[in-house]
Symmetry: C2
Subunit: 385 residues, 2 copies
Amino acid sequence: MTDQIEQDDNGVGIVKTHHFTFDRLALENGDIFGPITIAYETYGTLNKEKSNAILVLHALTGDAHLAGIHEGQNNTGWWDSMVGPGRAFDTNKYFIICSNVLGGCKGSTGPSSINPETGNPYALDFPLISIWDIVDAQKLLIDHLGIEKLLSVVGGSMGGMQTLAWLVKYSDRICSAIPIATSTKHSPQQIAFNEVGRQAVMADSHWKSGHYYGGPFPDKGLAVARMIGHITYMSDLSMVEKFGRRKTNDAQPFKFTADFEVEGYLRYRGDNFVKRFDANSYLYITKAMDNFDAAHGRPLQEVFEQIKAKLLVISFKSDWLYPAYQSREIVRALKLVGTDVTYCEVDSTYGHDAFLLEIHEETHLIGHFLKKIFMDHEGTDGYAI
Amino acid sequence: MTDQIEQDDNGVGIVKTHHFTFDRLALENGDIFGPITIAYETYGTLNKEKSNAILVLHALTGDAHLAGIHEGQNNTGWWDSMVGPGRAFDTNKYFIICSNVLGGCKGSTGPSSINPETGNPYALDFPLISIWDIVDAQKLLIDHLGIEKLLSVVGGSMGGMQTLAWLVKYSDRICSAIPIATSTKHSPQQIAFNEVGRQAVMADSHWKSGHYYGGPFPDKGLAVARMIGHITYMSDLSMVEKFGRRKTNDAQPFKFTADFEVEGYLRYRGDNFVKRFDANSYLYITKAMDNFDAAHGRPLQEVFEQIKAKLLVISFKSDWLYPAYQSREIVRALKLVGTDVTYCEVDSTYGHDAFLLEIHEETHLIGHFLKKIFMDHEGTDGYAI
């Protein structure tokens, strides 16, 4: 096999979600919590040296279904165009793992899971989890898969926060890392947007202090939270390019109908989101993001000092939710402690969404970076496997 | 009296709100609507030539109470520090008028007013109003006060939109205009933020399609709308300066309490807002803003061509809700048709809030501009009155 592999338009094809269950986890807040199930998917083949594994970490509303399609369904995974034969995460070379976060609602244990002690969903009896807890659960999954050292850990947005947590806590378990469009800690503006989303959920009379399972769900509040999110994921310019001030043809007699296309789009995205996401998971995960501080209040250099991994840091010029200056702070601290770091500020108009949309640029950047890491590590281009 | 007047720290002192009622108004949508009451306040004295009148226009949630205090109350008007003897709007020289917008809830006719035909509040039977209708009602007030020509029309944010509407529709009635931190039409991002606010209100089960008067009000939804607004009124940097990541001392056992000061601030502002504002007014007024287009879809130069007034356009560098480029578009079009326009982009970190907070800078800019306009117009510095 040569480097000039043809991209397979079918990607990874049909895939399945797996589940890994363990008894308990010591949480950052001191609680011992369990049992915990982590939903995950893998693509490609783990080589016999177990040296080609890459962990991809999802953002706030993502899940384990990174790529391919599930039997009998149509929708591809959330970063499908990045994963497959000849793609950035080349399944001819690498073994890709993606798991749903602890606290999530897509197969991993979260507030909508059944509490074995009561037989009812945890709801707000679910413990307050942190990004560190999320990463601890992932680390147990990696242990379970028998992988001593990950070739890379990669993620955008909240996935980037997890990437940073891996770097700080499990530096000896990773050869490289790619934090994308992320931050070591949320600014007050980032906290504020998450808080308004939480308030929108909790303002919904169906929320009932989290005990809505079995009754109507707080769909309207959660949809509002998602709509706020979508505005922050786009840029001023990308909204002009996508919608302008074009009107809809929605001529309902009701006065506050969606007159503008941008209004229709937000309503559509909000309404769709509530079909696939649990409102309590939204509260817990956004809170974990807001509380995260990769440096635990210390200077960033101090916690970065022990990092041996090589880094590729990516940000996007029009991203105002996770502005490029937050990535530059990461790069500056890494440089100060002598880490081998490459920084790329991609000239995209897509805003924060760019990390999911700038596939061509990311394929180039990530593909080459991983190839070099693998070569340095293995002395081979990986196609021998 | 000389120009070196001492600023009176008491400002305009005790003031009263007045009311002007007229029978009907032909709305932009073709409806004939009335009767209409407009609440307004005035400060200073109208000179005998009636040449010293300045109309100040309020933003989304403002009201007629621009300056001073009401008998027995403590809170000063929304732009108090700009109005009074020796202040930017010097009441020793000028006669200042501020009215609550049509559709509002602070004394002017709006959706919470009683529909004389039914004896109940209009609620959603209130007609869809526009910025043009709001300005038409103001023009009738100015007629009623016997003022042929306003020395200036001034407003920030939505007040700036009204200022632009005055310029386009009643150019022959004004000597000068000061649009601040505004836009000739909302971008999709500006529409999107308003739309999410409306969705938050309408998601509240107490909203009941607008028929909540007499029952519980949709306070939670309206508070969420206001919280979204407050984020957009500040800047990333001003939030860092004001809150950082400081925690509150709020040690309630509830998991989703306000941990960070920025969360506590937003909740406080949201909760306070619902005590003073009507949810349906919020829907109607934001919709009027979103639908506004100063140029009616034509090139801006065409509608600006007949403007004889002199302009001072002000924007703020950190304002990302009404970005400076929107003000520069106004200035560019005015320059193209030869209008006498001065532009100032103030180097503030306050974001959109700057138009209410940068008092020192605005006092300087607006004070000098008005003085020059009055001198040019009257051949006197105004202190003869």
